[in-house]
Symmetry: D2
């Protein structure tokens, strides 16, 4: 299980975070994590999971899995395969890869059995409640319309975050909530924590930053209450 | 909103329930509904909704909707179109048409605004809890492996039904639970009610019965506690 | 089989072409078809096919089908159901409802057996060739980026249309080509025919027109070479 | 481009071909390839591509790609990522991962630009023709009902293979055809070549064999006409 509060950096399919650059970026995250003693996880592309997981000691997540079974499946990213590659868990149901509710349920169950951590994404407070009922480790609320905009959900739509927190709590007292979409500064992270989340999920704010280390350091400081 | 306890007959894409035969079968359901004063709803194919809805006075459901918006969508069954055609609500997320959690959420919301009733299908107790969190009118628990087998979930897997009831209750006190899969006799209906559901969702047990009226009458009697 | 040259009006899921308005619009298309003796077909939503097909004598198409089989399928628009409802054929693979190549193949085969006409949509010249190899009655080339823009493919990207014609011809001498996207005037229709197509597929240009009859009449005249 | 005739071993998501075992199996394939001087390629899971590609010198394929673009995509296996990981090409549209025709077209185009080889799977002769029109390097005909059965398509349904060859030829003289489904012996490979294909696509016949080296050697000998 991840230590909280935390920052999860989704590498998406950006050129800036592929292959060798995935290692470089993961090493930067590892440095900041070590220097500030804060919890930072990274989620590279499927083909880079093993490479990144063998290069750094911070937690590595898959961006999604397609199946919780093994066997006669072609072209599926299976949960067994991401574990074998060194991932400690997986994102699932990101707005760029929505899946059926039954698969989310299976992924949460299988992850528990395999000792993997789940971060289930949701686009609205209602959906956070629904996925919280499946008992994942984390629920990530991300209004899709803010993803990639630089307009942080924690500031632009604080009520989406607080409603999500309330709804998740009413359904499942154990699932923790992080928020994402538009997070690019330490201030955005601070706002997210102030609302009651245990961290943030972000991508371009770090991956496409001119100086990813500077941005992550600023966010890491915000995470531990330093200004 | 449907009166409970109730029987929902899913016409699926059977030849025995298409077009003219959809009307015949709906009229049989209407007769039994009237004769026994029991609540029976039918769910014909999209192309038959208007035909059936204009032929009988019992509630008519869509089997699924693809979208809650209108406009530049080709080949989508929209929620506006099924309402316009006379449906009083819709099934959604049947195991033969699983959808993403966000669509289920949107369908429940849009149905409330349009005064339509939602029956959200789920394959496991965990998933019943998840969809119950979306606040639909009904949750239908159906283990896919029993669908069409004639082995009733209410007898073969009573714990799936009772677990679903417990989980739904813990998440949402308002959503009612029905169960499906393998229901073919009055006894199966009786078992379903005894477990605490407010009715059954079935298909082949009635649609492909030699004498649908006899089967529905038997089930209707079971529904109102007659032997 | 449709008489060519022709105009196919896709009703999509517009409010302006739902239910009663679907009948009104289909009747306008029928009037123009009769007055000018031109071939016009309409493609209403699934729930409106029977209503429209029983109200007019011009050809009625489905916008898509989900399955070519019957039986234990919930929430699928089947090819049997659209035929039963009075459709003479179906669109398939519209950019707003892309499907797998195997389903396109099955729909073309099943349509032939059921004496239905197929219009397979494609987004590029390469894809027109691929679907032409399946031997449909018509291939409709529609660059998705022009759909709904009012910028006609026949003028903005004539080479897309002519390349499609060349590629289709090289693969299958029998499939005919129509084009769509951005068609709103008689001039656009004229341009489409001049390039070598046998007609146009359009939607908003007619459905959302202030005076659909005027627009369709203008297009109908263009179709038969009148100015 | 692969040297033909060839054997392509799809590792699927079998436990017997994951992680370390993927390397072992790929090394066996490499040994046989070297010993007999025959062309053998392997297609491990996405998370194993880099591992396998860096361990052997035979061609490594992806089992599928989800996208041909890069950027804000989460949980997609992109064509850039498999190339970066060392794949020389990709399977696409396997019956266990059917995709839309437009994606197949984009994958073929992007592969050409990236100097990657494409093997497009198809389930019927009609579909082989359709995908051949997209100009891939190879078309693999695999009747899904024979996959994993041990009943070889080359013997059980030779007409499916020969029809595919005829249809592909009529559409595209450059695409080469391989066949798959049920291939487990050297005899099956021999039958495949005799029908006119340039090789076979197989999975369990090798991956789940008691002695994969023995089976691959037998098949390799068949490939070069040795008994």
């Amino acid at each position: 299980m991840l230590r909280t509060p935390m920052i999860v950096v989704n590498f998406k399919a950006y050129r800036e975070s592929l292959g060798k650059k995935a290692i470089e970026l993961a090493k930067i995250a590892e440095e900041v994590s070590r220097e500030l003693n804060v919890s930072i996880a990274v989620a590279p592309q499927a083909t880079d999971i093993r490479l990144v997981a063998s290069s750094v000691s911070i937690p590595v997540f898959a961006q999604a899995v397609d199946s919780t079974t093994i066997g006669a499946l072609t072209g599926h990213v299976t949960i067994e395969s991401i574990k074998d590659a060194g991932a400690v868990g997986t994102l699932i149901n990101h707005s760029e890869r929505r899946v059926q509710i039954s698969l989310i349920s299976e992924v949460v169950k299988a992850s528990r059995e395999l000792n993997l951590t789940t971060i289930v994404c949701a686009d609205t407070p209602e959906v956070t409640a629904a996925v919280a009922a499946l008992n994942p480790d984390f629920v990530a609320i991300e209004p899709p319309e803010l993803i990639g905009t630089g307009i942080p959900v924690s500031k632009a739509k604080p009520e989406v975050v607080t409603n999500s927190l309330d709804k998740v709590k009413s359904v499942n007292s154990k699932s923790k909530v992080i928020c994402g979409a538009g997070i690019t500064t330490g201030d955005d992270v601070r706002a997210a924590l102030r609302l009651g989340t245990v961290g943030v999920l972000l991508a371009s704010g770090v991956v496409k930053a001119k100086d990813p280390k500077k941005v992550l350091t600023e966010m890491g400081n915000a995470l531990i209450g330093k200004t």
